[in-house]
């Protein structure tokens, strides 16, 4: 490093910024900064940049790597078992059980919500309800089949779990989770289809009922109009008759 600091020497300024100046250089730059607004501003700006950089923090990651011997039961050399229990990923059977629980709750909520609506619809539109509205029943069947499939998968996993090495088990876990995700997606798609069918059928029923109601109103209006016309005709005839009598009875 130079014995004499030169104004604008970026290498010296960086060394000053990080307190890694050569002996004696620190005091030299200190003295320079008191009289040089440009270098002082440069140092201030770089310090502010450093403060801003401190905001960059990497996301929290559960690490907990460990080295294990080849002859130990776990085949992987580096694993991550030292994760706190509340942060550790659920095992496959746990995830499957959670999925079953969610499906069960969803099914119960769905049943309790849809049943009264169906009854109300049936009462109002019983005369015109088409026989093909069975989407709700089909969806439940799908869910039942899905539950059965998950139970089967779970059973297979349990039977194979004791003899499966960790790596292979992890692979089958991933496959199982993938299958469950696929089944959930399929189920969601079925639900959407069923809901759309229900909405279309309901719109059809309402439209038919509207037409029936309009026809009835039209008939009623026609009857009313006909009745009024007859009454007017009768009144006119009576008035004419009375007028004739009045004229004939009047003395000339």
């Amino acid at each position: 490093m130079n014995d004499i600091f030169q104004c604008g020497d970026s290498a010296a300024l960086v060394a000053y910024l990080y307190d890694e100046c050569a002996p004696g250089e620190q005091a030299l730059i200190d003295a320079h900064l008191k009289g040089c607004a440009v270098c002082a501003s440069e140092i201030d700006g770089l310090r502010a940049t450093r403060r801003t950089l401190a905001a960059w923090t990497p996301p929290e990651q559960a690490l907990g790597f460990r080295v294990t011997r080849e002859d130990e039961p776990r085949p992987a050399k580096i694993l991550e078992p030292n994760i706190a229990w509340w942060r550790a990923p659920l095992p496959a059977w746990g995830q499957a059980a959670a999925a079953l629980l969610i499906f069960g709750v969803g099914l119960a909520v769905g049943t309790s919500r849809t049943a009264p609506q169906d009854q109300t619809t049936a009462v109002r539109t019983a005369s015109v309800l088409p026989a093909s509205v069975t989407a709700v029943g089909a969806s439940r069947d799908d869910l039942t089949q899905l539950e059965q499939r998950i139970r089967t998968e779970l059973g297979q996993l349990r039977t194979s779990n004791t003899a499966t090495p960790v790596a292979a088990a992890r692979g089958s876990d991933d496959a199982l989770i993938q299958r469950i995700k696929t089944m959930i997606d399929e189920s969601a798609a079925d639900e959407r289809r069923a809901f759309t069918e229900r909405m279309l059928n309901m719109a059809d029923v309402i439209e038919r009922q509207r037409r029936v109601d309009l026809a009835q109103i039209g008939n009623s209006m026609g009857q009313f109009r006909g009745a009024t016309r007859d009454e007017i005709r009768q009144q006119n005839e009576a008035f004419s008759e009375a007028l004739r009598r009045l004229v004939s009875d009047t003395p000339r």
Binding site: S10, A48, T52, L53, A55, P59, E60, F65, I78
Partner: protein, 196 residues
């Protein structure tokens, strides 16, 4: 009394795996942080971190203590990061997830930090990360090693295999670029103490 890295290394070289596991516990967070900041992807940084310890363990018999264990480990991790970047052949990109969950954020807050403060900190962190990604790999690595790992100029020069003056130039140019970028966006932290 805390066992030194050198003692743990010696025991691990003698076949004591648990000593190496203690070294992992001691250094996995800094190595992960280095990998994340250099490559910018959580899962890949985790893989790099794991790979670094695996390689260090395999190469441990050949480690003669010429450098500090941590420097040797950092170098292994940095080489893996470089390999990753070459494979990717693109600048590291990492953003704050758009669907940031308020409950998840709330669980991360310390006792004195509100959710608003935490969100602001995360946003600033993402802004700094984006600005850093615009630097060259050499500038970025030099700043990361200096700012977040407290290495000396000489240690960075050894790590990057370049002269000390080059390290200073990389730091100065990188910081200047960052300063301009952050000032343009209005994200520079205000000066806390005025220089007298």
């Amino acid at each position: 009394m805390t066992t030194t890295d050198e003692e743990l290394v010696a025991r691990a070289q003698g076949g004591d795996i648990e000593s190496f596991n203690q070294l992992i516990v001691r250094w996995e967070r800094p190595i992960y942080a280095l990998a994340y900041r250099v490559i910018g992807k959580e899962e890949d940084a985790r893989d790099v971190c794991q790979d670094a310890f695996l390689r260090a363990y395999r190469a441990l018999p050949g480690f003669k203590g010429q450098a500090k264990f941590s420097s040797w480990l950092y170098r292994i991790a940095l080489n893996l990061c470089r390999d990753w970047i070459r494979r990717q052949r693109r600048a590291p990109v990492s953003q704050l997830p758009e669907d940031t969950d308020a409950m998840e954020l709330a669980s991360e807050t310390g006792p004195a930090e509100s959710i608003e403060d935490l969100v602001a900190r995360r946003e600033l962190s993402a802004i700094v990360e984006e600005a850093m990604s615009e630097l060259s790999e050499e500038q970025r690595t030099a700043i990361i090693l200096k700012e977040y790992h407290g290495m000396t100029f000489q240690e960075i020069a050894d790590m990057q295999g370049c002269p000390l003056s080059t390290v200073k130039t990389r730091l100065y140019q990188g910081l200047s670029l960052l300063r301009r970028r952050l000032e343009q966006q209005g994200h520079m932290m205000p000066e806390l103490v005025k220089r007298v």
